[in-house]
Amino acid sequence: MIFQTIITGLSIGSIYALMAVGYSLVFSVLNFSNFAHGAVITLGAYIAWALMVSVFKMSFFPALLLSMLGAGIIAFFVERIAYSTLRHRRAPSLFLMISAMGVAIALQNVLYATVGANLYALPPIFTQDTFSIGAATISRMDIFAFVFSVIAIALLTIVLNYTKVGTAIRAASYDSEMVSVLGVNLDVLVAVLFLLAGSLGGMAGVFMGIKYMVYPSMGWITNKAYIGAVIGGLGSLPGAIVGGILLGLLESLVSVTVIGSVHLSTFRDVFSFGILVLLLVFRPTGLFGRHVEEKL
């Protein structure tokens, strides 16, 4: 029973982590919470749906890669349209966040207005979806999502630590002004940043679509990923990973807990948002974050 819970927790947690990394990447350099990330993830899932189901009948891997690319490009354009003016004007981070909210509302509702509110399924990757270890029934998709998320995050870590662009991004997370004085084109750097964050988000979107369904408000789930990023400490990559997985585990534990005759599963989301509020009040830096004073 507990083993089953942990597996479920890990698999949803790894998808949270994949999304949380996108939040933290952007936060580390631009110091704001990019609430449009959820919409980018949703669009990634819709691209996969278009490629695999509605328009073309592509197989999984090419569709996954193209969805990641598509989501990355969308994230790039979102930055160009909604953030770059504010960034150049050095507006307070709150302004960027409001702008991001606007983008999120607009994109999500463009989907409602065009594709519609229907739920669509993405084709399963494995025909026989579950296998058992002892008493636990484990979904192959869960394992697959977990492994793939780990690989993607590992690749990202390599990019950040061993490439020139990665070094520049890490440097910019400490002092973006200094980085631009040293001759790095900040606009290019931010573009790369959004491409990376967007494509990881696209991947998460595809996994979410396969695990659940594809629908316009599926981006709501990214609020959870955001909570994961806050638990780990906004702006910290290891924090986002640990926070995302931790939240996944906590949620699945809460879901199976029964106190008296009350099943806590119904209050799982209350619990998660409660954690968010409490953390922001008592420990806004999370587990690994460094405290960044607001740029005003």
Binding site: T85, I98, M101, V270
Partner: protein, 653 residues
Amino acid sequence: MQYAQAIFTNAAIYVIAALGLAIFTGHTGLFSLGHAAFMAVGGYAAAILTYFLGWSLIPALAVGVVAAVLVSLVIGYPTLRAKLRSDYFAIATLGFGEAVKVLLENLQLTQASRGLPGIEKLAGPLNTAVFLIITVVLCRNFLNSTYGRKIIAIGQDPVAAEMIGIKLLPNQVLSLAISAAFSGLSGGLLAHYITFIQPAIFSMDLSSLLTAGVVAGGMGSLTGPIVAIALFIVIPELFRGLALWRLVLYGVVLVIIINFRPKGLFGYEELNFDNLPKLFTIIGLTIGLTIAASLAKMFSATLGRVPAILIAALVALALTVALGYLGKLLAKWLRSPFGSFGQMLGSGYNHIVQTLQDKAVCFRNRDLPKLRELMNMVVEPSRMVSAQNSRKEPVLSIKSLSKRFGGVVAVDEFDLDVYEGELVGLIGPNGSGKTTVFNLISGYYPVSGGTITYRGEDLTKKAPTAIVLGGISRTFQNIRLFSSMTVLQNVTTALHDASNYSLLEAFVQWPWTVRATEERLKETAMELLKLVELEEYADRVANTLPYGLQRKLEIARALALRPRLLMLDEPAAGMNPQESQELVELIRRIHVAKDLTILLIEHHMDVVMNLCQRIAVINFGKKIAEGAPEQIQNDPLVLEAYLGEKVEDVVAS
């Protein structure tokens, strides 16, 4: 007609909630992204009472409002106390909003996500309109009172607000509570108008609609959010088939406004004759677009698509321009009759108040002792004995004061005594720790060591607001005015401590208490402005004043706090010789007229040497010299600190 009524009622209900949000977000500058939760609480509380217990509308709404206020205190107190980064605060409210929604989705009492269907239709266009008017009046009254000004001041510059004695936390919590009250009212009306209530109504989309209304309408304004929300609700209704695109519109508008016009439509202004044309243009654009849409449809069958759209666009443009022009004309025609009508009303009103006051004691003006005291200081020449006689006990006594920032020692074992009525200068090279000393005295920084005693009281343990209200006020090196307020409002805001009407009275604005007090606050503020020779600029917005005048305004604002010790931080910075000469005269004048003790930081040596009876010199946080101006001018240590040379070298050359 029924359709128009429905649109109106819908819009009015959301406008009430948006006005609530405008009181909080629009005026404190703190973003709440969870206001839908307050609507939910108010709506559910009211709906449960009418649905299960058969209460009538008004008491049910009242309970809903109270419930929303209580919830706002529970969430507001801890989050505001933590002084979060502004975006973290916004996210915390978002989390709160989602938590409330998810909770409602799972509660049995509220029938989970099914909600309460078939609530009696108790709200309609009529009573909603009444509630809307009440809301507008109450919000306006509140903002035009001492309480409202405190909140506006915090929104414009929290540091300056605290330094004029306004406590941040209670006022921010108050503004959130008021805001939640109106949101709760709106939620209650909504439930009884659409006759059902469900958690899904109070989603993040609703919170974002309200936020979009306040941002697009303009921060610091009530007119703005009303216009913006009305447009948000009305425009999609006018274009049939656009309903699905409604939320896309909010999103896009939010992005455009925040990127290109952060001030919004009516930022920091209310409707008046100057912006009437703007309002008419907006209305014209809305009507124009509506007509254009149906025209385009009509003509595209006969003329083809492109010419039809062209014609429609032209019509829309023409209507916009025409209505804008009409607005201009109306403003021109109405301005003078309206003005005299207002004057007539005003004098009639005053007459009635006067008669009431003559007839009954309870309507008499209240005594405002603090204001009277201030007026006496400003208007009458000094009555007290001058400084020289009372040189026994120091007023302010600083002993081995230290302040460390990490490894940097900004102030190091600093001592200074200031006596009653003295004018003491504090000078030193850049970065020597002068302003830090001021920040320590005013309680802005906690001290690392040493004591500051003011009239026998230890200041190091007092809150900044208590220190200010205890009689020590200050100005700032880099001007910190409430920049969107007028010059007069900057000073009246600082008189907050002298007014004595209650919050309830502020909402109702009884003429014999609130209006009368406000009049006297204004008179006093004008006297202070006269003292610094700014009376002709009273109605100018503060940040449009030239630099030198802004510094004078800061002095007037500091004087409004009835200080016994005034700390001026580089009042002559950026002034030319003539201006600084005038400033010297001004400081002399207030020194005598208000019988003040003054501590002055200044780089202009002519100002310091002219004014100060005694000068202390600080370098690297340590006091290196103290004495009369002539003494200081010849002190070798001081010369070294300023010129960076050994005295022998200077003498040798």
